[in-house]
């Protein structure tokens, strides 16, 4: 599959991509937040979406996840055109996201946050609640065990009965990622998962992202910490002014003068925290 020519921007959409977007545009009033972004996320990869502030990264993630509709352009999940699907239908196809600012469900416990995310929930139908309580109990039992395992894996087990709103910033990050894992994603969009997180926890989160990759989950993460990008990402997409500036390995992008000028210059000069 090949995207239309965008005048110098990378246009190739890989056949074995888990997610791709073609010529995405989005304006807010007169401000163009996304201006023809086109890229693909290779299946089974950990891909970073980087770019200077205001490059349109979060807007792109919102469009990919369906939280926001684009003015034009297409979003494909594998071979399926998901452009017109609302976010909950994209999530049911396996496209799960986290948010730039942690969005814990504060009025629920940590455990309930995970239970909500379980994919198969016959108890969400009131017919089943009244007429097939055995089916609901069985599904809840299976979800409980899965939630317990994930909480343990993510180090949140001891906090399971705390209100989610009472967690620290780092714990909320972990909760959001573990909740996303509970939803059984095939493709995970992480919007700045390391933002505001202490270095010890960054390593832990990086480890979990690697575990997800090993389990076959494709990960697209917006990240400003280029040290983290270099360490855990296979593939990098650079956005600038709402366009795809370049894609490739981090080592290749360091040699790309456009990228250096638009974003990495500060890093190379030591002005951006690596």
């Amino acid at each position: 599959m090949t995207a239309p020519d965008l005048g110098g921007a990378p246009t190739a959409i890989s056949v074995d991509s888990a997610l791709s977007c073609v010529d995405i545009h989005k304006s807010f009033g007169g401000a163009k937040a996304v201006n023809g972004a086109t890229f693909s996320v290779p299946k089974g990869s950990i891909t970073a979406l980087i770019g200077p502030n205001g490059a349109g990264k979060t807007t792109v993630v919102n469009i990919l996840s369906g939280s926001l509709s684009s003015d034009s352009g297409r979003v494909m999940m594998g071979d399926t055109d998901i452009t017109a699907l609302p976010s909950y239908q994209r999530a049911r196809l396996g496209l799960i996201r986290t948010f730039q600012l942690s969005r814990e469900l504060g009025g629920l416990t940590v455990f309930e946050n995970l239970m909500v995310a379980a994919k198969v929930q016959p108890g969400e139908s009131l017919m089943n609640v009244y007429l097939r309580p055995g089916l609901v109990r069985q599904a809840e039992k299976e979800s409980r065990e899965r939630a317990a395992s994930i909480l343990e894996q993510y180090g949140l087990y001891d906090l399971r009965d705390n209100w989610a709103r009472e967690l620290s910033g780092g714990q909320k990050r972990l909760l959001e990622i573990s909740r996303a894992v509970m939803a059984e994603p095939s493709l995970l969009l992480l919007d700045e998962p390391m933002a505001g997180v202490n270095p010890a926890l960054i390593d832990r989160i990086g480890g979990h992202i690697h575990e997800l990759k090993a389990a076959g989950v494709t990960v697209l993460m917006v990240e400003h910490n280029l040290g983290v990008v270099e360490k855990i990402c296979d593939h990098v997409i650079v956005l600038a002014e709402g366009r795809t500036l370049a894609t490739g390995l981090m080592s290749e992008l360091r040699e790309n003068t456009d990228v250096v000028r638009a974003y990495l210059g500060g890093v190379l000069d030591g002005r951006v925290d690596r």
Binding site: E112, V129, Y157
Partner: protein, 338 residues
């Protein structure tokens, strides 16, 4: 029957009726986060439809639709369903496009329009005169007089309330209730987990409105009359006050809220004789007292007298879990949680 006993049974009836009303609003507001400022309108629809279905053909200068002389449970259920149908129309028109505060504004406007429409359109439910002489359920069949009807119907209302408590408890304790509370906390994050938030809110709106309709139906059957003065749009806030004082998101708290606000602060003062020379003063003081009570609760105990309960996982401690699974995994260290 002594006046005191009669009076206590009357208060008991209002406790049961307001519990039903409160549980409905609590599902919408406490669990679903829907600021339904038109709630009293749904109560009124249930009351009018139940009353007009229970009455026979219009006579004696009364004007209203229906007049089918339907027996008590049928009219009550249809009253609840009528409120549901209205809720469906409102929800489909508003839920997809409007969020909490804008939705609240639309709903309060709807309440005002509905009030004016029914107050002025006489052929529908009698306009400002409303419905009168609504038959007392089972009174003829059981030979009940005014004195015996009140305790009898308080008992019937208790049974209806118990049934609706059971139904509501199953809803709020189910995965449906959990997802509804999730959508209340963050609709976008909940949708991002694959949940159709619109559907959950719509269902909670319909069920809550059914409760409103049934509560309204019970009131009209008990009082034998219903007119627009009984459901001024401000009455919605009385039920909101009961939910907030009792405990948002807690069905048990709602029982306490129903006892305190609509009964002790609203129904009870109606039985206190007027102060000579100051008619209506007691009721006005009671209304002000509700405002003061609400402010005190919001200031000192915003979660309500009985707060929303924490639904514990009932999972074993980690050490016990490790013994049973044989696995050990590292929990967060102090450095990681900082």
């Amino acid at each position: 029957m002594s006046p005191l006993v009669y009076y206590l049974f009357t208060l008991a009836f209002f406790v049961f009726a307001y519990c039903i009303l409160g549980w409905g609003l609590n599902l919408q507001f406490g669990h679903g986060g829907i600021l339904n400022f038109a709630y009293i309108g749904f109560v009124a629809i249930g009351a009018y439809v139940t009353g007009a279905l229970s009455l026979g053909k219009p006579s004696g200068g009364q004007s209203y639709i229906f007049g089918f002389s339907l027996p008590f449970p049928v009219g009550l259920i249809l009253g609840g369903l009528a409120a549901c149908v209205f809720a469906l129309l409102v929800s489909v028109l508003t839920f997809r496009r409007l969020r909490t505060d804008y939705l609240a504004m639309v709903l309060i406007s709807l309440s005002l329009v509905l009030y004016d429409f029914i107050n002025n359109f006489v052929p529908l439910f009698g306009g400002a005169d409303g419905l009168t002489n609504v038959p007392e359920p089972f009174a003829d069949a059981l030979g009940l007089d005014t004195n015996t009807f009140v305790p009898f119907f308080a008992g019937v209302s208790l049974l209806v309330a118990l049934l609706m408590w059971w139904v509501m408890s199953r809803i709020t304790n189910s995965p449906f209730g959990r997802t509804l509370r999730a959508s209340r906390d963050d609709d976008e994050a909940t949708a991002a987990l694959g949940k159709n938030v619109f559907k959950f809110r719509l269902i909670s709106m319909l069920i809550g409105s059914f409760y409103a309709g049934v509560g309204g139906g019970l009131i009209v059957e008990f009082a034998g009359a219903f007119n627009t003065s009984a459901w001024l749009p401000g009455e919605t806030f009385l039920i909101f006050a009961a939910v907030i004082v009792g405990g948002v998101g807690n069905n048990k708290g709602m029982i306490l809220g129903a006892l305190i606000v609509p009964v002790l602060f609203t129904q009870l003062p109606k039985f206190i004789p007027d102060i000579p020379g100051h008619p209506g003063l007691i009721l006005n003081i009671a209304a002000m007292a509700i405002g003061v009570l609400l402010m005190l609760v919001l200031w000192f105990r915003p979660q309500g007298v009985i707060p929303e309960k924490k639904r514990l996982s009932k999972l074993p401690p980690l050490s016990e879990r490790h013994r049973s699974t044989g696995a050990i995994s590292a929990q967060l260290t102090t450095e990681e949680t900082l």
